[in-house]
Symmetry: C2
Subunit: 404 residues, 2 copies
């Protein structure tokens, strides 16, 4: 029995191993995989003997990172909001945009009327853009259906994207994203609807986690807590759109329910960040939405550092507030706009992003036992991945041991 | 004799013709070309007869814009500044960065020691990133050699990039970019050097225009005027890095010399903008540098509109202040950060960018007599080109009548 079926050699590794400093760099590295799982990742000098029988890939000194993880997207939706964008720049008022069918409800309408095939093919192009930059794991949320059948269709489309592409897809049920028109003025009834949907969708295997949008313009802390309680009864982990536009105590709420992550967090306070640290809840910061919405308040990165809350970065890819499909650009925005360091940015789209999905036992670092998900880069130093803007230096992408 | 050798039909055109409103839209359009020149671009209904013999390309309803024009780049240089970027984010002081060889002089050093081949191959990847988004014309500046032989080498590399790729390259001599170390403290002597270089490099056919960096940290108005006077003696048009970090009257200076463009312009005042209007000098705004340097003062777009100064957008692709190689993203930044409208952004990378290079008689719109440089897009409406972030919907690129 061979030890490995494929070996990458003459490479420099950013292992992101938590047992190594910084990026966990190995200068003269080797990665060996068998059946899509890493069996060795580390210095050539320490590599086990018996790797010679495997297929050998000469990386000619290139850098390898774990395959990238985009841990917060709304990739599946109908239509787009380019017209609304255009009208707004031309000076149209919010009333006029609403009258012409803008805002999140335009996406809900377009998503509800789209077939599952149409949802898949629309998202396919966006997913390909992410994959072209070395992304091997993507989270996809529902939340534009806002009724059982349409939320189900969105989640099924997400699952299909995972099965039809060389990428791991994690689904998140975000029924509590907005109040649907048929429940206008009655959020209590809609929250009951959402709580009903959770076990049904979970039973179909469509839900890896449950998310909610806790904000003055969305759902209250109490309503969110109801949804989260129901999720926990169904043995589902939760995530939260928290403290993006105001401080409602979302970070603390997420922590109270042991959330995998609290996301956005521009207005989170120290008590909230400390609670996240105690609960092991990751911070997912989303500079694309900050940029696109021209926000002024950055998330409290220093508090996250002080309390050692893991920081992940994600595209938040969505038609309304972040029509962004580049995780490399997201890293640059994390550095430029939020002043994350290079090491923090790279960890934020690998190790910490995997953690924010509860997947760090499977991916997000180059370590034995993990999936062999790799991104191989034509760069001289990892900092180039963060420094460049609108440039893709990916040389090759490996998904579960296979070059794709 | 056939009227045309190639015809694109079933397409929607954003002609950017100055004789049409807005983007100059034609819904059911046809473009016909012969020997790489457009012989007809307009409604199918008005198309000349006799196009049937040509090769016919069915665009299936896609949008066609003129091939994009990136009218301000420093694409040819040695090294990169990723390490400096990393150090700065990690909190290093300017002194420490300077001590470790950061700043523009690190690029000058790396450029001076690079061979012409190395300069070409380094820039080739960046040029390919631009071309992949439909760019068919690129301006490339010198300015990292700062001595005759090295400026000459940079300009030769730029010319080679033009001859080795399906793209039009315009070269700009930017000797007056910074003071080289061997002239430290003696800008008078270096300006004399620059004035000496101009006719020599021009005689070699390496100079399409002359540029200078007029700023407190670079050259004064008087020094810039000397360089411009020399350029005019050599029958060369000028461009200017003007009023980026402070108001030195750069816009007015550019106008005084009938500059093709004044670029950056964050601190330009109304008198300067009015002078540009009177002189027919275009404004080239560079949101990539504004973003990367985290500037707070946006260029006076309203004044440009009021005085009808044409507004172009460009990447400013360079290693120090704008390591950006996406003109699509530049459009989004123009809209998001500078509040340009969708129509302004699209005109800014086609018609107005061609004008800023003195090339509008050759490219930048879809009109008979122009080069057949086309970008064919998989979008439902042109606004999507500006709205999306980090997504490339290019379907095909046509350079002088040939699909590339």
């Amino acid at each position: 029995m061979t030890l490995a079926d494929r070996v990458w050699h003459r490479c420099r590794l950013a292992t992101l191993s938590p047992h190594r400093e910084g990026l966990g760099v190995v200068e003269d590295g080797v990665i060996a995989a068998k059946d899509g799982i890493i069996v060795y990742a580390g210095p050539k000098a320490d590599a086990p003997t018996g790797l010679d029988a495997a297929e050998r890939i000469d990386c000619e000194g290139r850098w390898i990172t774990p395959g990238l993880v985009d841990c917060h997207t709304h990739l599946v939706y109908g239509g787009n909001r380019a017209e609304e964008f255009e009208l707004r720049l031309a000076g149209a008022s919010y009333e006029e945009i609403a009258r012409r069918g803008g805002g999140i409800m335009s996406t809900v309408k377009a998503t509800r009327t789209a077939s599952e095939d149409a949802l898949v093919s629309g998202a396919q192009r966006r997913l390909e853009a992410l994959m072209a930059e070395g992304v091997t794991t993507v989270e996809i949320k529902s939340g534009y259906g806002l009724a059982f059948a349409t939320e189900q269709r969105q989640l099924r489309a997400a699952r299909r994207l995972g099965s039809e592409n060389q990428v791991t897809v994690r689904t998140t049920f975000l029924g509590a994203h907005a109040l649907p028109p048929e429940r206008a003025g009655d959020s209590k009834a809609y929250i009951a609807d959402v709580c009903d949907m959770i076990p049904k969708l979970a039973t179909e295997g469509l839900v890896d986690a449950v998310d909610a949008f806790c904000e003055n313009i969305a759902f209250s802390v109490e309503e969110t807590a109801q949804v989260f309680a129901r999720a926990r009864e169904c043995n589902l982990r939760v995530k939260l759109h928290a403290d993006q536009l105001s401080n409602l105590g979302g970070a603390a709420l997420a922590a109270r329910f042991g959330a995998l992550s609290a996301d956005h967090l521009e207005y989170a306070d120290e008590a909230g960040i400390a609670a996240m640290a105690a609960a092991g809840t990751a911070a997912v910061v989303l500079p694309g939405a900050y940029y696109f919405l021209r926000e002024k308040q950055t998330p409290p990165i220093d508090l996250m550092r002080k309390h050692r809350v893991p920081i992940a970065l994600a595209t938040d890819s969505n038609p309304g507030s972040s029509p962004l499909t580049s995780l490399l650009l997201t890293m640059n925005m994390g550095a430029t706009l939020f002043r994350l360091t290079v090491d923090e940015c790279i960890a934020a789209v690998t190790r910490e992003a995997a953690g924010a999905l509860g997947l760090f036992s499977e991916t997000g670092s180059l370590e034995a036992g993990k999936r062999c998900d790799l991104a191989i880069w034509d760069v001289e130093r990892p900092a180039e991945l963060v420094y460049r803007i609108g440039f893709n230096p990916l040389h090759a992408r490996v998904f579960r041991g296979q070059t794709t």
